[in-house]
Amino acid sequence: MAHVVNARKQCTVNPLKMSQPLGGALAFLGIENSMPLFHGSQGCTAFGMVLLVRHFRESIPLQTTAMNEATTILGGYENLEEAILTIHKKNTPALIGICSTGLTETKGDDGAGYMKLIRQRHPELADTALVYASTPDYKGCFQDGYAAACSAIIETMVPQGPGARRERLLNLLPGCHLTPGDVEAIKETAALFGCEMTALPDLSGSLDGHVADHFTPTSLGGTTQEAIAQLGAAQHTIAIGEHMRGPAELLQQRCGVPCTVLPRLTGLLPCDAFVALLAELSGKEVPQSLRRERSRLVDAMLDGHFFFGGQRIAIAAEPDLLIALGHFMAEMGATLHAAVTTSDAPGLAGLPMDQVLVGDLADFEQHAAGADLLVTHAHGRQAAQRLGVPLFRVGIPIFDRLGAAHAVHVGYRGTMTLLFALANMLLESHDTNAHRHGHPAPVQDTDNHARENLATC
């Protein structure tokens, strides 16, 4: 059991956290033909765009209502209206996803009221979905903004009331700690059970780094409007990550779709729970191919556990990513040496360690001293260098490595890939350390041991 402790500093040093609107934008980017729009000053959009572009290595559609000091004080209705009309005219998106920012929230802009007024005044926007999410920068973090946008999409676009239930139509509400590759892997697993799965949002269609035939100024793919309208007709909703509980329960309230929130999908037991759920929902046997994947993961755990045992791991990540990785490390036999996160969220207390710190990467650097491996986003590179400890990059942003969108760390196969990557990193640093200190590290002994055993078999 962990105590969640706030670092309580006046000055945040080397931020771990990113702001809510950015998380909101990511959710909207997973809807087909959409244009996220920040209701705020231009700079927030520019920073957000640069960050996402560098992470995904893709063009990122993102616009701004370009508020300045005067328009902020007078209220942002006109800018919002003009932005929506301009985007509609120039880019004809199916959806404009508006995220408020700290600036317009401080002023107290009435987003819901504005949206009503715009709808009334502009019948020409009838075919464009307008979704408004309240995402002030001075509250919450990235994953909260993402969840808020998902809830706003459901609230605005999913018709209320129980639809005609369709068997084997499932909803997936993937948390923002899942990559486009993760989302695709989950959908493929569901398909093995003959289930059709609608992901909301679906980054595997939009930010999976593919080459389209034509240039599009809006998102390149993602959940379609029709699919969103059908969310209420699903047999069941599966949400991954505690922060997706809100949207999942909202959908349940509105349309009566029962839901299961899986806190994570990395590690043998969580994967088993997911597969068992699919088997139950579909009424089908677990297919042979999946049994085989499970068996491979079990084998990987047997091979890999030597290298995790007793290793001290320090993790800094948004709550649900921390929960997923922290438990997995512990389940492989590693010790959670330090954990830093961005906000106090449900589930953190369950981590097998004494304390989880709500803080920044300077806190992380301080507490991670003595760890064997650091796990955080690319901004951890300075701490890793100073501490001389290897860094395994996870989450957003990862701007100094390729392939962030394609990393798969969920499901049996994804867990196995993650396990190998981590084990190899631990191995390598032990090899170098062993050479540096001039004596073999314990890990190498185990390795030799394994080899000897192999030889005698």
């Binding site: 500093k9 006046q10 000055c11 945040t12 040093v13 080397n14 931020p15 956290k17 990113m18 702001s19 609107p21 950015l22 729009l37 705020g40 000053s41 231009q42 700079g43 927030c44 959009t45 520019a46 920073f47 957000g48 640069v50 960050l51 572009v53 560098r54 290595r57 063009s59 616009q63 701004t64 209502t65 370009a66 508020m67 300045n68 000091e69 902020t72 004080i73 800018n79 919002l80 003009e82 932005a83 929506i84 301009t86 985007i87 120039k90 700290g102 600036l103 401080t106 002023k107 920068d137 001075y138 509250k139 973090c141 080459v211 389209a212 240039f215 100024p217 300077a362 901004h379 300075q382």
Partner: protein, 466 residues
Amino acid sequence: MHSATLDEVFQEPGCAKNQAKNATERKKGCTKALKPGAAAGGCAFDGAKIALQPVTDVVHLVHGPIACEGNSWDNRHAASSGPMLYRTGFTTDMGELDVIYGAEKRLFRAIAEAIAKYDPPAVFVYQTCIPALIGDDLEAVCKAATAKHGRPVIPIDAPGFAGSKNLGNKLAGEALLRYVIGTEEPEITTPYDLNLIGEYNLSGELWQVKPLFEAAGIRIAACISGDARYRDIASCHRSRANMLVCSKAMVNIARKMQERYGMPYFEGSFYGIGDMSDTLRQSAQLLVSQGAPDDLLERTAAVIQKEEQRAWARLEPYREHLAGKRVLLITGGVKSWSVVAALQEMGMVVIGTSVKKSTEEDKARILEIMGEQAHMFEELSPREMDRMLRDAQADIMLSGGRSQFVALKAKVPWLDINQERHHAYAGYDGMVNLVAQIHHTLSNPIWQQVREPAPWESSAKPAAEG
């Protein structure tokens, strides 16, 4: 935000962009309202940070909610030869209560915390939108903190919503003029002391040109702000002359230093062989006019001759590969014409260039270099860019990261020549680097592979057509 400062900055007579405008246009200055829903570019805070962040040994503290610093810190490649403090991100990370009750006290304590932990020679405090809106008095807090800690705590009053990045550059310059420049005395001075203004040492570009100045005998006393220490800038008023690197950023510093200290300045560029030589020559001339011994001119001429020869010799092998290749040039910070000239020397054909950020003077120069067939784009939308590239009008596009994927998705070679790039293109070696990179990119074997349709698609096609 001081409206007096703003007015002054907008009326900046030394700004070529402003000089080219008439009186009413000038009044409007850089306040030109952005179009909601069709705007691009960073805010004034972003601009101020770009201009000052390269100062390596101070704490850069951003007063605002997490959006401003959390989404953007440590994202540029300004290099340091010593202190690494500038790469540490500091922010007050304002929460809801700070917004409701004001965050001046919090800021004051944050400054104290940063000083206690990192002991910097100075703290730069950046204003952002929300504290500006709720009326946090940045200047008063900084004044109190300066008094308490006995070291400069400098307000950089450029909240995002005040305007564009360019405005932010200038407001950063104002802050240096008001609070930093001239507050300390240098340890040594020589008749060969020159300051560089507006060079940020991105990817270490300063280090490509510094040795050239040194070889001629010119000492770069201070650089604003690439690889700078606080004290260099505080004492840079004792140098003999200023070189202004980009005409639009921080021209106010050069002009006001001339006014205050009688220091002459000239505008120059490090991009392109001819430009680099001009810059060295002008630096030497200016220093000599300020009393430096005139053998400096000869030494400079010798350096130029040797370096030019060496550069051309190194470029020669590329000419045969690059001659006749068509380039689409979309630049921001780097002056279009200096790159155009260099590419033309290689026999490349520049089929068009963007002039969105260029002054009238720049445009005239481009016309001169490229001739009548020059396509100058005020605004090239991604859609049009895509069309041009797919129509194979260009063999390669050089641009900033923003349009990178337009080129790549059209399967057209692309090279980054803006701020986020990883390669240094300044000086003679830089130009050789740029040409080498263009060659590597153009001659990469992937282009042929990725343009080839999959076998089943190419075989299906003729059948369908037949």
